[in-house]
């Protein structure tokens, strides 16, 4: 990452807030100059004291204290302003990432790789720091660079003073300067090699740690999972898990070894640096003895050069850190810059009061990219307006895939799906989904207020919410809640209320009803309910959906009987189609499935 790139990164992350540039420049200038201003004036004080010029020394002291005070005040002001503008960028990045997962291709999002890389981002952030630490590092890196530039100026001054002074001893100066330069080069060469070695070791350590961490986190999740507690005790596998966890804990030794490695190498380096510092003192002192520099200046130059050496060391390690972080931050950026749904058009949906939205599948096939197995093959299907259609089939037959295709969560591999004769991909996605009310089997409610969950917005039509709550039979429950419709759900976002599986399902149905879309899809809405609640939902079903076009997915055959048409899907194709009685008469797959279930109850039918 070049300095220019770092600068751009800072500006980008702070959203082009102009003053931040000024703040960074002034702040790092001040930060770098504190040490130098201090040593310049300090040298003058010492020299005056040695000459017993006490008034001069006192004057210098006052100048020093005031100027240091002033620089510090400016420096910290810049620092606080910087913090204020940098802190939110951490959340901004995360927010953009979250939004991306909402907007990206669902098919892409669903992939295990995507989630893994997303999880990795979050873990990476924990171990390597986030946007804020990165920006702070860059800021501090700039400060160190300026420090080094200052020190170089001092060094030039020193050499000039030594070789141009009145008592100059050219040969001595040349020899000592050459030794100084050689020592410098050697020590930086060593530093460079050591930081390279440490960098390699760090990569190795992170890899070991990442692997260990993944397993450790997994194991913790197993041990902490509430529903596992009974199995763990009943099967007596405490030892088995504890042993695994203990072995996982050994990862600590990887760190210790790493620490020893770093310790040894850094010790070598700091030994070198201090010897070099010693030589600098000798160098400057010898100059002082020949009268080229004053005693005060000895402290000044030695201090400046030592500041420079630590500056270089810090700058190198900051730089390595920035590069290391950048790798992970760029994966963040890469994630955020992934394309949104490309399966998106621009056509608006014609608003129709008569709800005449006609959807049809034309030779639609679907398979996952890179796979040879067709999940659905050559499906031709027309959803008649106002019809109640049941989709049945065994698990994995392709029922849900068909719905996902209809909702454009998946894109057909072949064939097309049309709405009122136009390929659905031509429509604007946000407009397109407005015609659907869906209850997925694995629906989710969110840890926000109940009414917002139903309205999926902060702008809630309270009367409408009350009406749908009444329709799904939750009025009593809601009235007993502390904040009525405004009650927060669940516990992850504050102290809300829990809902049972059945209640949650009713809320999900209420959400679908609130949307009041002309096309209703219910994906096994009763799976989590017990028989009585199930029967209740069935009975209300007609009133709930009214005259809307409805697709009903189930593996419980009994729930299909009231549908106008039943489609049986098996192995990705439409195997049978008809009404309940016609399919039973056909004695095919539907009849077989129905009878298997009915058999359990059959013994009582007489």
């Amino acid at each position: 990452m070049s300095i220019k790139e770092m600068w751009k990164y800072l500006i980008f992350q702070t959203k082009g807030y102009r003053a931040i540039e000024v703040v960074i420049v002034i702040g790092s200038l001040c930060g770098a100059s504190i040490a130098y201003v201090n040593s310049i004036i300090y040298a003058k004080i010492i020299d005056r004291l040695l000459l017993e010029n006490y008034d001069g020394a006192i004057k210098m002291t006052l100048i020093m204290v005031v100027s240091i005070w002033l620089i510090n005040m400016i420096y910290w002001a810049c620092r606080q302003v910087f913090n204020q503008y940098v802190e939110p960028s951490r959340d901004e990045t995360k927010k953009r990432t979250a939004r991306k997962t909402f907007k990206m291709e669902y098919e892409e999002f669903e992939k295990e790789d995507t989630l893994l890389s997303f999880r990795k981002l979050r873990n990476g952030e924990i171990s390597s720091g986030d946007a804020v630490t990165q920006m702070t590092s860059i800021y501090e890196f700039f400060e160190q660079i300026i420090k080094i530039v200052f020190a170089l100026a001092f060094l030039t001054m020193l050499v000039a003073q030594a070789s141009l002074g009145k008592n100059r001893n050219i040969i001595q100066t040349v020899i000592m300067t050459v030794i100084l330069v050689v020592l410098f080069v050697v020590s930086f060469w060593i530093n460079f090699r050591i930081s390279k070695k440490i960098g390699q070791r760090k990569v190795l350590m992170s890899k070991q740690n990442e692997k260990g961490n993944a397993e450790g986190m997994y194991l913790d999740s197993v041990i902490c999972k509430e529903s596992f507690a009974k199995d763990i005790r009943l099967f007596g596998i405490q030892e088995y898990l504890a042993e695994k966890s203990k072995r996982g804990g050994m990862i600590g030794r990887v760190f210790t070894e790493y620490g020893i490695f770093i310790g040894k190498n850094n010790a070598k380096f700091s030994f070198m640096v201090q010897l070099l510092a010693g030589y600098i003192y000798i160098y400057v002192s010898v100059m002082a003895m020949s009268g080229s520099v004053s005693t005060g200046e000895v402290l000044m130059y030695a201090g400046a050069i030592i500041t420079m050496m630590t500056g270089v060391q810090t700058a190198i390690s900051k730089y390595n850190y920035i590069v290391y972080c950048n790798e992970y931050i760029s994966t963040y950026e890469e994630f955020i810059n992934r394309p949104n749904m490309h399966y998106d058009g621009t056509l608006p949906i014609e608003k129709r009061d008569d709800n005449r939205y006609e959807l049809s599948f034309h030779k639609v096939s679907f398979k996952y990219p890179g796979s040879d197995n067709y999940i659905l093959k050559d499906i031709n299907l027309k959803f008649e307006i106002g019809e109640k259609l049941a989709l049945v089939g065994l698990n994995g037959a392709g029922k849900t895939t068909l719905v996902k295709l209809l909702l454009r969560l998946y894109e057909p591999t072949e064939g097309e799906i049309k709405l009122n004769g136009i390929n659905i991909e031509k429509y604007d996605y946000d407009e397109y989904v407005q015609i659907f009310s869906v209850v997925f089997q694995d629906f989710r409610l969110f840890d926000f207020p109940l009414d917002e969950n139903i309205a999926v917005s902060e702008n809630v039509d309270t009367d409408k919410v009350k009406k749908v709550i009444e329709l799904v039979g939750l009025t009593e429950l809601v009235n007993n809640m502390t904040d009525k419709e405004g009650t927060l759900l669940y516990h992850e976002n504050g102290d809300g209320v829990s809902l049972s599986g059945g209640e949650a399902q009713k809320v999900a149905i209420a959400r679908a009803l609130y949307k009041d879309a002309p096309f209703v899809i219910l994906d096994e809405p009763t799976a989590a309910l017990d028989p009585v609640a199930e029967a209740e939902i069935y009975e209300r079903f007609d009133t709930l959906v009214g005259g809307k076009t409805t697709i009903y997915i189930s593996h419980r055959m009994s729930s299909c009987k009231f549908c106008d048409r039943i489609i049986v899907i098996s192995d990705g194709t439409i195997k049978e189609e008809g009404t309940h009685s016609s399919l039973i008469q056909k004695a095919g797959l539907y009849a077989e499935m129905y009878n298997t279930q009915a058999e359990y109850y059959a013994r009582d039918n007489h």
Binding site: L50, M64, D91, K95, L234, L241, G252, N395, V438, R603
Partner: protein
Amino acid sequence: MKKYSVLSNFRFAYGPVWREKRIFIWDTLLEIFFSVAVPLFGTGLSALVVWLLGNEISVLSLIVTILLAFVCYAAANALQTYIVEKHRVHNIEIRLELFSHEIIKKELAIPLEASESSQARLLNEKASMAVSSNWEGIEGYFRYSKALGVGIFGLVVYAALAGTIHPLIVVILVMLSVISVMVDNIPQWYYNRIKDKIAKDNMTKEYIESVAQDVPAGKDIRVFGMSDWIIGKYDRAIMSTRRLTARQNVLAYVGVATTVTLNAIRDVCCYLYLIYLLQKGLSVSEFVFYLGVIAGFSNWFNEVSRNGVMMKKCDSQICDIRSYLDYCVQDNSGKLVPKIGFNSIEVVFDHVTFQYQGTDEPVLKDVSFKLKAGEHKALVGLNGAGKSTLVKLISGLYLPTSGDIYVNGINTRELNLNEYYSHQSAVFQDYFITSYTVGENIALSELWDEDRVWNSVKQAGLYEVIKDLPKGLMTHLGKDLVPDGVSLSGGQIQKLLLARALYRNPSLILLDEPTAALDVLAESEIYEIYSKVLREKTSLFISHRLASTRFCDEIILLDEGKIVEQGTHEELMSIQGKYSELFKVQSRYYENGGESDVN
């Protein structure tokens, strides 16, 4: 909560380290020494140079003296660097091996009922926090206690040196430092005021981040167009935090500015006083040395106050760890094993009532029945009737609130439960599967008997599937741990759980709605297997689908915590009670359908 003294906490933290990783303690002491000695040495060096230049000595002896001093200094520096770097990460090893592991072991050792109480969960949460961070809890305790040691040692040494100038200097330095520490605490004080609000914002942010990873939620979000709603919440949280931190940053600046100003005042005073002393005969090299000491003084003082505060926080977290470890300690000695052993199991409920802690009403009320050896019993009832609780009581995971449960004649309160557990197997609806290998999942151990595993797999009807897996029994389940793990279908998982149950060769099998998530054909296949392999075992089968209990000898109907009906299917149907009513509701959709149409 029990109170733990500061001293006993110190012993709790350092005791295990002293016993098992003593080198850590030596390193701590060395680091404390070097952290003070090295900077003092450094201050001495500049004074030395000034002194050398002030005295007329030869160039050679100047060079030799400086070189010698710097070689010593460099060596001390290198040693310090080594210890600091090593010690810094050694803390992690200490935490993981000596403390984190104890919490895990404790978590696994608490009896189920106690572990589910809100108290246990709270204790666990706090204790886990205290062993999982680098800068908090136990590891924080080690880090801050060392830093505090450094601060105290430094303060003592520097105060002694500054005191030789004038005792008043020490007093002034302490006073200025106290003020500066107090001012420094203003932003912290303000943070404590706003931290609940910030925590709330963070909670929202974290929650939304977790939603972003939730795949099924992705469907709802897209289809209902929820993105703006949810992201809007995130924006609101960011804005709120930003406003709060803005004020905190201003206050932080006030704090820093005060410290900077106080330092300026201190410097003026000390310089002037030392210059005054110079006129009285103090040497310039002493002047340089003392200035270094004075500049360092406030540093040590800050170290002490800062780390003292942090220590206090970590100390209370040590209390969290200890309260958890002391919570509900089990004594297993003197527990009984029935004379006839557990080769066949008979369970008798005698007026059993059970109530969860912190609830108003019992889940089970006065339940009595007998599960005879070798019998297959079904337990049916609506959701919330108390079925799962009853299973946990049978298995001994819960003990009754009142009444008694006898296993082969021994009361479960006196029974050696671990021994009893090892003779039963259970399959719960929220099944337990790990991402380790198939073999480990069946044997629930790292050392498994391959023949026995294969045998169980065959009996469970899973042989074909496992045989065809790329690594057979060594195949991992799911991709949590390895990239080439496989996922099994719902029916296959049920068979795997059955194989696991069989591997243990249990005398009692408990099945808690194992097939609720399966489709018809898969469900009926599982039933067939169960009725075949369970023939001789005592078993209890729970369901809310009444029809699925047909391979059981007898049925118990549980309603609102009470046994309302009991008998064979035919008996219960003939009495025309609750059971037959429920059965009719469920079978209604089949009544005038299939059979009649086909016939």
